[in-house]
């Protein structure tokens, strides 16, 4: 029992560190990728190729004045970035990072908690995430912040519906809410993306919206709302908001890979003749490669597309995505029924 606890604590710490590390270097990657796409050079002053840039940014954030506007609600103003960061970090608990690993005769899963309600947990935690933005926007006592907060909350509520419905199709085919089971079911190249392409597309679109990333970045919307919900924020509080966005992006990429792209599975993995432990390690690396690809995809889209207008966003959410998700659900149900009958 005690070894189990120690192993779990180690896994938690490692995942925590990896999450922060990837989020940190996502900021660097974003700037470099944006630079490549825009024919620029990007950060190259701090360290070789600018790889120390995230540390420099973090240091800058810490040493800035911790300013709170005079008419802001002080308590909520401080709590809001905390909520954003907290919910962003919580989601990583149930993602299966790899298969099981055997050390000294004991087998452990590379997952903090294999919760039976896996997907519901994700949806629940993500829903709490909107509080960070809403409270931050409201507590700043600034109209631009409030606009950002209102836009963001209505956007998240609308897109959560389509997101939930698109996942439902996957749950129907897998028959389990546990992410571990969903990954196991995709073993041997049977990735959900081939069976549920529409659900995959819908989920990716909604994931963009949930992360407040372009083309759905109406909450920050630099050209209209200055900074949106974090207009009044500075120093590390702003850093928390920005960091939470990158963590969300990382987790979203992990969930997209898990649900639709086989998680830590890769084609022909059983034909390689690797031992179980080696296979797990390779699988984990493959999983991170998939995650990195989706993080790149997030950035690729951001630096290509303009953002939606508020009403167009709502139209897309309610009039296009939700009907499509319902249609997909009915199609999946219909096919499953036919398969059972014949």
């Amino acid at each position: 029992m005690s070894t189990l606890i120690i192993i779990k604590i180690i896994i938690i710490l490692v995942i925590f560190a990896i999450t922060l590390f990837i989020a940190m270097y996502s900021t660097y990657a974003e700037r470099k990728i944006a630079a490549v796409m825009q024919d620029r050079i990007g950060p190259n002053r701090a360290g070789p190729w600018g790889i120390l840039q995230p540390l420099a940014d973090g240091g800058k954030m810490f040493f800035k004045e911790d300013f709170i506007p005079a008419f802001a609600n002080k308590k909520l103003f401080i709590i809001a970035p905390g909520i954003a960061m907290f919910t962003a970090l919580m989601t990583s608990a149930i993602i299966p990072w790899g298969g099981s690993i055997t050390i000294w005769g004991q087998t452990f899963d590379l997952q903090v908690a294999d919760v039976d309600i896996g997907i519901l947990y994700i949806l629940g935690v993500v829903s709490i995430g909107v509080y960070g933005i809403m409270i931050g926007g409201w507590a700043s006592n600034n109209k631009y912040s409030l606009f950002g907060a209102v836009r963001s909350s209505s956007q998240m509520i609308s897109y959560e519906l389509a997101m939930g419905l698109s996942i439902l199709a996957v749950i129907m085919t897998t028959g389990s809410l546990s992410l571990k089971d969903i990954v196991e079911a995709q073993d041997g190249g049977k990735w959900n993306v081939f069976y549920q392409p529409l659900a995959c597309l819908l989920f990716i679109v909604c994931a963009f919206a949930e992360c407040n990333r372009a083309p759905f970045d109406l909450a920050e919307c630099e050209s209209e709302l200055i900074g949106g919900y974090h207009t009044e924020y500075g120093s590390m509080k702003l850093g928390f908001f920005l960091f939470a966005e990158y963590i969300n992006m990382f987790i979203s990429s992990a969930i997209i890979s898990t649900l639709f792209f086989g998680g830590y599975n890769f084609p022909f993995m059983h034909d390689l003749g690797l031992s179980s432990n080696a296979l797990t390690i390779v699988g984990t690396l493959v999983f991170f490669a998939k995650i990195c690809f989706f993080i790149f995809f997030f950035m690729w889209v951001r630096w290509t597309l303009p953002r939606f207008r508020y009403d167009q966003l709502m139209h897309l959410g309610w009039k296009t995505l939700i009907p499509l998700a319902v249609f997909n659900l009915m199609l999946t149900g219909g096919i499953m029924l036919l398969r059972d009958l014949f």
């Binding site: 825009q38 919307c221 209209e224 597309l305 953002r307 939606f308 508020y310």
Partner: protein, 405 residues
Amino acid sequence: MDNLQKNITENKAVDNFDNKLSTLNLGPTHPATHGIFQNVLKMDGERIHSSEQTLGYIHRAFEKIAERRPYNQIRPLTDRLNYCSSPINNIGWDMTVEKLIGIEIPKRVDYLRVIIMELARIADHLICNSVIAVDTGALTGFTYVFQERERIYEIFEEICGARLTTNIGRIGGFERDFNETANKKLKLFLKEFPKRFKDFETLLCRNRIFMDRIINVGPISAERALNYGFTGPNLRAAGIDYDVRAMNPYSSYQDFEFKIPVGENGDTFDRFMVRQEEIKQSLSIINQAMDMMPEGPYHADVPEFYLPPKTDVYTKMEALIYHFKIIMGETKVPEGEVYFSVEGANGELGYYLISDGGRSPYRLHFRRPCFIYYQAFSEMIKGALLSDAIVTMSSMNVIAGELDA
């Protein structure tokens, strides 16, 4: 103090949510206003109920300053009107003075001027269109065309030594001829620009989100546009083919073949597309001017207005006298009243000049198209969303320097 207190509470009563309208200050310093002007918007949620514009934040009294300056020294003031295409302003001013004095300009100067002005027009339109995209959130196209704008500025740099506020040209022609490097850079630009420009166009025009953001946004009818006194691309987007270059040709524009693109609805999409097409037409004009470039002097023979070369100043008495008189602003100009207009990058840029024969203008008025567009802004964004207002603003290409003068 009591009165002040009363006002404050009264305003608060209007602002509260029972009244459903809230006030939003868009500007004077806001990332989307591209300059310093304030819009006080009455908002019903995201929708603009009504708006009120304030201007004058960077008013520098150019018209008054011009009354104290010799004619040669007014050109730097015009740089700072529409600073995205200052060569057009500079050359427009030179031509106004030439019209007042009645100077015969060599053909070569006309053609050189046309090249410079069309380059400036391309630079200005590139900024405007890429900034529309930036305001919708697409930053990448902006960086593509900014590199091309950089090349244009390098050409200006070769010709006059400056980039943004060029102070290009002199009364009667140019300070010096295009040098070898300038010609080389110009040819390279003409060769490579169309490809990059096509990248930019396909990036945006084939993008559904961008089209949705600009189609039917901030429209103005041809009638209203004419009533306000619109000119330039904004009027042509509304469907009226008025272009000073064609209606009242100056600087030998009659020698060139070019089309005047017109829109239909006067919305942001039309304004965007008209500018895109004008860039292509400007390219064609530059190509024609390069091909048909006549030989001849690069300035008119007007010793009393055109600075003599330095070698002559040191060796010849007349040159020294003229040099002294021009620098001190002591050359006489005839009495008279002239209006001269050029097709600026964003509209008819007019100079109304009254001279009483003194060393400075008696009165000089700039007809600034931005000032006119901005009057219509309130009408154009009424009932639109906040995002639309910002895109409309950038598509009209209102430039603070020209708005306030």
